[in-house]
Every structure is written in structure tokens, then in C-alpha cells.
Symmetry: C2
Subunit: 275 residues, 2 copies
């Protein structure tokens, strides 16, 4: 049995930045097992001391030095963390100084900025996007499509819903999605309500084999999930998208993050200026 | 007019880690305006040269040195970036070396690890959580609640849906949510299907004033949105949750990230071990 090392995500805010950073780094050490412990809202020296207790206990149990990835704004709280025998990677202490020098100003040292409610405009926009995306999932509503940033199209179970939700939650993008169904293929035309939003359409396709696999989990032994039907639908959808000049990508071996990043680039959804 | 500085998120993967980290840093410089440019999938030296062209053009236009936040795994591509006159903050080059020393192994230098499909188990779990959460939004379905990691309860528009979706998308947590409605208050009991899942319940409350404001956007001049009704519902919901011993928090001035981080800690949803 190999020892498992513990990694702590310590933050005076939600800890989401620390966790994102740590996961990104750890993914480069694929053969090592880690136990992850989240420690959000460590915003006083007293709370940091409780936190240090837990780090010490992990060190004893694991007989391996823990790793601590932290995003701590308060310098006093951050300083307290350095009492502990662990590899401490503090994100702010490393990056804030060069940014202050470059920008010629001091940083605000305010806690809870990145995932708090400080940036109200951006925050409200994300909530609005989530509501919009939910209300326009799976072609449920045609209304208000002029406010969509993008409209995803594709056969049922090609990945439209998780991608749309990811776009809304992560980027505040209003993403409607619309299934392409046998009726559309028979007419060989887009659903009428999509015609005038052609420039916002983005297609997802998938290999028929993978599609059949996914559909079988939902409706085993159905025509819907049969390989023959999946082949026919995927082919018809691609023919339709080609005819209509819709950009598309194959979601088969892509994560929702990869699909989202590609889509943002291709559709040219502008990065918003922040202030 | 003050000059706007451009910040580039450069990555050989999706760029999502770079963007998250950069936003976290920039939130500490609240009086400075930035123009954000995403440059994902820069995975060859040739693509890096195109990218450098854009950085140079931004430098000329802004008459201010751009900032580049990067997560580049390929050392050759990363080296090419250092030709440009910009403040380059590369996460991997700074953090990977101390981690390699601590862990006593070389990192795999594999691209697309953190937001690609490499971690299939974790990835499938997140997609499953998104599907589960959608299928259990707003009390739509009672079935399968034994598989929920958490069940959010609260009055209509107290923040349950965006929080649930965030938990699923970001953390792969299966979050059902259930509205508390006047019928529940009259009986002064939980909906029957929730009784046996009491240990998974987590409540959201909100100030009546803020609730009325949110509801008025949806249904102006309705009883539903009236201040008197919002007061009565919030009070009844808190009375019910107190009676039933349900933990809750006030979502009024919290972001979905703050609600999610608090909930994970309070409900004690275990951090999963990664391998």
C-alpha cells in the first residue's frame, strides 16, 4: 500500500481559486494519490491556528509532508500559515507583488473579491444567464432567442445541455439549445424559429457509436438508441448543418470545457471588458 | 480617458485555469480597467508566434505593456512566449518545480489534463451530476432522491436553482432542490418525500425585501411578489426549518460560490480522493 499525501486548499474566501489551481497542478502528477481537504473562509489568525492543527494531524497520519495551496489576502493570516511544516504554495504572495510593480498601484487586499458579490454587474449577468439557459434548454422556448449569445443545435444526447449550462455558470453566456429531430431531417430545413438567428447557431455532433452507447443508458433496446438509427440521425444532422452553413464540432472525445472554449473562440463571443 | 490595459489568458489547453487565476488576481486591483483576451489551445510554437503578434499589437494600441497570464505545459511553447515585451506570469513554471522537488517525481507535462477528458471518472461523475440536478430542479421529481448528495429547500426564488447547478457543474455534486410552498406552511410539515432524507437537507433563506425585489422582476404587481406575502413566506419557512432542525443560511448577500462552499463544509460532503 502506498502512502497517500494530503493536500489542503486554504483560503480566506471560498477556496475555489485555490482548488482550481491545485487541481490543475496535480493533474500533472498522475501517478500520485492525494487526499483533498477544503478549508474555506479562514479569515482570522485564530481560524488559521485550527487549520494548522489539521495540517499537523495529516502530517502525522500520512508520515508525509502535506501540501498546502493557498489564496490568502490578509498578510497576518498568511504569515501564520508559514509556521507549519508543509510545502506551502501561496498564490497571492507570489503573484501580487509583480502585478503591483507593473501596474504601479497597491492591491486592495480585500477578501472575497473573486467569488464574492463585489463584482455585482458580472454576478447578476451570470445569474441571468443561468436562468436564460434553463428556460431555453432542449428547445423548450422560442421566445426571447434574440437575447441568446449562442444557440446550440444537434441530435438528442450530443452534449448540448451540459455545454449550455457550463457556458452560463462559468462564463455568464446565455446559451439556448435546440434538438434536431427526425421532422427537421425530413423537411431538410432548420426549425423555423432558428432561421433568423443563423449567425448564432453552433452545432454539436458525435460519433454514432458513442451516441448509441449514451442513449442505451437511458432507453435500452429502443429504436431511439439503436446503432442504425443513431447512424441515420447523425448523418442527417451533419447534412443539414452543412447545407445551412452551420459551424459544428465533434463532442465525442471532448470535455464540456474544451467544447465551451472552442465555441467561444469560433462564435466570437466577445470577452467583456471588466472594471 | 484613461488607458485600458490588455490582459491575455494564454494556454495550451482550454485556458479556463488561466482565466480563473487571472480574475482572482485582477479582483485585487479594482480601479484598473482591463480588456481581456482569451487565447486557448496554443499548443505549438507556430501558434504561439501568432499569439505573440496579437500581444504586440495590443501593446502598440494601448501604449501600455500587456499582461499575460499563462498555463503552458510544453516548455518550448512556454519559452517562445518570453520573447515578447509583456509581464508574463506563467503558473506552471512557477509552481511545478517546487512540487516536483517535494514529490520526488517529474511531472508528466501532458496538455489538457485539468479540463480535458483525461480524468474520465471525475468527468463522467460531473456529467451525471448535471443530469441529476436538472432532473431534480424545483421538486420536479421525487424519484431517486436517495442518490442526491444534498437537497436544497427554501421559498421560491431564494437561490436554490443557481446554487444547485453550480454545485453540479463545478464540484460534480448531485444537488436536488425543493420549493417550500404555502401548503407546506399550512401543514407546518416537510413535504412527505423529504422526511426520510432529512440529513441531506440544507435550507436557503433570504430577506423578505430582497425576495420581493427578485419576485417583482418576474411577476410585477402580484400577490406572490408583494412585500407582505414575502414576509409571511420567509417567516413560515424559517419556522418550519427551525422546527425540523434543518441547517440553513441566508443567501441575500452571498454569491453562489460562497453559498456552495459553505454548504459543502456544513453538510460535510466529503472531498473525493483523486487518483
Amino acid at each position: 500500500m502506498t502512502a497517500i499525501r494530503t493536500i489542503f486548499f486554504v483560503s480566506d474566501g471560498t477556496g475555489i481559486t485555490a482548488e482550481t489551481l491545485a487541481n490543475s497542478l496535480l493533474s500533472q502528477f498522475e501517478h500520485i494519490q492525494f487526499r483533498q481537504v477544503r478549508m474555506p473562509f479562514v479569515d482570522t489568525v485564530a481560524k488559521m491556528h485550527e487549520c494548522i492543527q489539521q495540517i499537523r494531524m495529516a502530517a502525522e497520519r500520512d508520515t508525509l509532508r502535506p501540501i498546502v495551496v493557498s489564496t490568502l489576502i490578509n498578510p497576518e493570516v498568511a504569515a501564520a500559515l508559514h509556521e507549519v511544516d508543509a510545502l506551502v504554495l501561496d498564490f497571492f504572495s507570489i503573484f501580487i507583488a509583480p502585478l503591483e510593480a507593473e501596474l504601479g498601484v497597491r492591491s486592495t487586499h480585500a477578501i472575497g473579491r473573486s467569488h464574492g458579490r463585489a463584482n455585482t454587474k458580472g454576478y447578476d449577468q451570470r445569474i441571468e444567464a443561468i436562468n436564460f439557459t434553463l428556460a431555453h434548454d432542449d428547445g423548450v422556448s422560442d421566445s426571447d432567442l434574440e437575447n441568446a449569445d449562442v444557440i446550440l443545435v444537434g441530435v438528442s444526447r450530443s452534449g448540448k445541455t451540459p455545454t449550455s449550462l457550463y457556458l452560463a455558470v462559468q462564463f455568464g453566456i446565455k446559451a439556448a439549445n435546440y434538438p434536431l429531430i427526425p421532422e427537421d431531417f425530413e423537411r431538410n430545413k432548420l426549425p423555423g424559429s432558428l432561421e433568423k438567428h443563423r449567425h448564432k447557431l453552433f452545432g454539436l455532433t458525435i460519433t454514432p457509436e458513442r451516441l448509441a452507447e449514451i442513449r442505451r443508458e437511458r432507453r435500452p433496446a429502443s429504436t431511439y438508441a439503436s446503432t442504425a438509427n443513431c447512424h441515420a440521425e447523425v448523418e442527417a444532422a451533419q447534412r443539414l448543418m452543412r447545407r445551412e452553413g452551420i459551424r459544428w464540432l465533434d463532442s465525442t472525445s471532448k470535455s464540456i470545457e474544451e467544447i465551451a472554449a472552442t465555441l467561444i473562440q469560433e462564435v466570437g463571443i466577445n470577452s467583456k471588458e471588466r472594471d
